[in-house]
């Protein structure tokens, strides 16, 4: 599963938003936040499938705490986006303009 497909879905982006808000959430907590804060009333089963997609893309990881399965956001795979399409800063832009002028 590539990260582009994983974050192409609104519900999956909302899941990541909520995991950034608080790390280590159960499926129950995520579902409660999605319905109450985002109006996303998908079934627990549907959310569980979204979590599987995000986990396959490496964007979340899970850990057992006690007898509960909790979920964490993992941002590292998103670095690939910035590496592929580097964000030029204002400084970079002026620099390249200077170079253009020199030519």
């Amino acid at each position: 599963m590539d990260i582009y497909r994983a974050i192409a879905d609104r519900t999956r982006r909302a899941i990541l938003d909520e995991l950034v808000d608080r790390s280590g959430q159960s499926l129950f907590e995520l579902c409660a936040r999605l319905i109450m804060k985002h109006g996303i009333g998908s079934s627990r089963q549907a959310i569980s499938q979204h979590l599987d997609v995000l986990e396959a893309a490496g964007l979340i990881r899970t850990r057992r705490e006690g007898r509960s399965k909790l979920h964490w956001f993992e941002g590292a795979p998103l670095k690939a986006i910035g590496e592929r399409w580097p964000i030029s800063t204002a400084e970079d832009t002026s620099h390249s303009t200077d170079e253009d002028n020199e030519k």
Binding site: R22, L27, R33, K37, S68, K69
Partner: protein, 131 residues
């Protein structure tokens, strides 16, 4: 018809009675020996004549996978109302209670979820005053 009792399945009735009275602060109402187990109920100090919570032995084989699946997904099957979730969270953490979910503002309610040490997750819920 009235809803006078509701149940929570517990691994160990004696341990549960201690947790539900000494830690949570409910009051023992009935403790009637029934052979291997007992019919144990507790009530809220705030409503001693209100609904009784039956501490039901989790002996039936079907209870095991049922509760395991609920706990795995963090689902509290039982919920109690409180006036102040933050204050209860602070009090219970000081008593050594483990929270799966700290107080969380969900718009109309504030909730938190803790482990009752008897095989269940319990939700406490504070309804926010409507503006």
């Amino acid at each position: 018809m009235r809803i006078n009792w509701t149940s929570v399945c517990v691994d160990d009735q004696e341990k549960a009675l201690r947790f539900y009275t000494e830690t949570l602060g409910f009051r023992l109402k009935h403790n009637i020996p029934l052979g291997e187990h007992a019919w144990i109920t507790v009530v809220s100090e705030e409503a001693p004549e209100g609904t009784e919570l039956v501490l039901e032995p989790a002996g039936h084989p079907a209870v095991v996978p049922f509760r395991k699946a609920l706990v795995e997904d963090g689902i509290p099957y039982t919920a109690f109302a409180v006036d102040d979730v933050e204050a209860e969270h602070e009090r219970l953490v000081a008593e050594g209670v483990r929270f799966v979910q700290p107080p969380t503002d969900l718009g109309t309610v504030i909730t938190a979820v803790f482990d009752d040490t008897c095989g269940n997750l319990i939700q406490i819920m504070e309804e926010k005053a409507q503006p």
